[in-house]
């Protein structure tokens, strides 16, 4: 069930449900860790998505019931998962061949920043002393046909996450197709960002105010 947002804008669940509506039936989908994982709970009626997890499983199912966990059946976030009938296991080179070779239809990722050109930063603040950790994100953004971003519209301190240029180290250049935030759905078009939809109770002006790049 989608939990409605307490105030204006979408809840995390509503954001995930909104993104899920844009994923076609039969798509091969990779979901990033965090909010993106919620997408699996909101597959629209009549559609089937097949989930890939880059540590070597296609046909990932929902989390197991408590006590049913198999310690050697995990996802990329290292959490226990299940598998559906018709699943398959493979090693990392084959798994990333699927990603890099363009065989996955959609991935949904979190973001620290997205630029007007679709550049994504989601792996490092670049601060000295921070332990850099990239995982599979750079492969996903260059390899998967459609990259969707699910993120809060602004940071905890109110700074825009959608910006003219990313100031954090990039994950990839010109890779994001659409951004789903608590306030809006924004398309990354050739000519720049386009506001497709606002959340209930959110005005276009509010979205523009909280966005660090022009919105058509």
């Amino acid at each position: 069930m989608v939990t409605p947002s307490p105030g204006a804008g979408w809840s995390r669940e509503e954001m995930a449900a909104r993104a899920a509506r844009d994923i076609p039936d039969g798509a091969y989908v990779n979901l990033g860790i965090g909010i993106p994982e919620l997408v699996a709970r909101f597959v629209p009626e009549g559609r089937t998505f097949l989930y890939h997890t880059e540590n070597g499983l296609l046909g990932m199912g929902p989390p197991p019931a408590p006590g049913e966990e198999d310690p050697e059946l995990i996802n990329a976030g290292k959490r226990p998962v299940t598998m559906i009938p018709g699943a398959s296991f493979f090693h990392h080179a084959d798994s990333f061949a699927m990603i890099r070779g363009g065989h996955l239809d959609v991935c949904v990722l979190g973001a620290m920043q997205v630029s007007r050109e679709g550049d994504l930063a989601n792996w490092s603040t670049g601060e000295p002393g921070a332990i850099p950790a990239v995982g599979g994100a750079m492969d996903l953004v260059v390899g998967v046909k459609t990259v969707l971003v699910l993120t809060q519209h602004v940071t905890k301190t109110g700074e825009p996450k959608i910006v003219e240029r990313c100031t954090y180290p990039l994950t990839g250049r010109r890779v994001v197709s659409r951004i789903y935030t608590d306030l809006a759905v924004i398309e990354v078009a050739r000519e720049g960002l386009r506001l497709l939809e606002t959340a209930p109770g959110v005005t276009e002006d509010e979205v523009r105010d909280k966005t660090g790049a022009p919105l058509a």
Partner: protein, 237 residues
């Protein structure tokens, strides 16, 4: 429900268009998707580039596709055959182009195509005529030649068991190039001896995960090339 099954080999190969690059699984006759190839001959697509280790045997299967004039360019490692004059005759007559690729380089180029690796270096063929005109590079004390990925519009594949999600297993040495070609083609068309329900193939034993497969058709008793050749058959019958 995801269901990649189609009802006939004719339907399976229907989308192939003139000028396509078509990878054809098999090492000689072993693993060759003969029913799909014959359906493609019936379908009529021409000006094809065919990718296979060989050039077919007798006047059936891949040799028949070539013999019927549908292939203008052949990418392969071993175009000689004791059982076929089809390719040699067209080649000598200048009516078919040949790109000769060492077998391991052919396999690796196809894998690279499927894996999104546009180019790689290999020691194979350095210092031989097959490396002429190609970029050479010294790395870690060795000399290597740059080779490019190979991708296809279609792959025609024979497998042993498939499910409706497109997961595949093969039989013994009939596996050969097929798992690679499934990866490297935009549309992969498979004939399976048997189609089963998802889950009937153990997830540990899947050789080609369904993500690499688009269309599956059941052909329970595929023709055996060598028997057809012994009987003097040629396609179209």
């Amino acid at each position: 429900m995801i269901d990649k099954r189609v009802g006939s080999v004719a339907e399976a190969v229907a989308p192939v268009t003139d000028g396509s690059v078509v990878m054809v699984g098999g090492f000689g006759e072993v693993g060759s998707p003969i029913e799909l190839i014959h359906a493609l001959i019936d379908q009529g697509a021409k000006d094809l580039t065919a990718v296979n280790n060989n050039t077919g045997n007798g006047e059936v299967g891949l040799a028949a596709l070539i013999g019927n004039g549908r292939v203008t360019r052949m990418v392969c490692s071993y175009p000689r055959s004791s059982h076929s004059k089809v390719f040699p005759e067209l080649y000598r007559a200048g009516r078919i182009e040949l790109e000769l690729v060492p077998q391991g380089t052919l396999a690796e180029r196809i894998r690279a195509g499927g894996a999104g690796i546009p180019a790689f270096y290999t020691p194979c063929s350095v210092g031989t005529p097959l490396a002429e005109g190609k970029e050479l590079r010294d790395l870690d004390g060795g000399t290597y030649v740059l080779e490019r990925w190979l991708r296809a519009d279609y792959a025609l594949i024979k497998c042993e068991v498939a499910d409706r999600l497109g997961n595949l297993t093969y039989n013994k040495t009939a596996r050969n190039f097929s798992p690679l070609m499934c990866m490297a083609a935009a549309t992969t068309i498979v004939q399976a001896r048997r189609i089963v329900e998802p889950g009937e193939i153990d997830p540990e034993h899947v050789v080609t995960p369904g993500i690499f497969v688009d269309r599956v058709v059941e052909v329970p008793d595929p023709l055996v090339e060598s028997r057809l050749i012994a009987e003097g058959r040629s396609y179209p019958w």
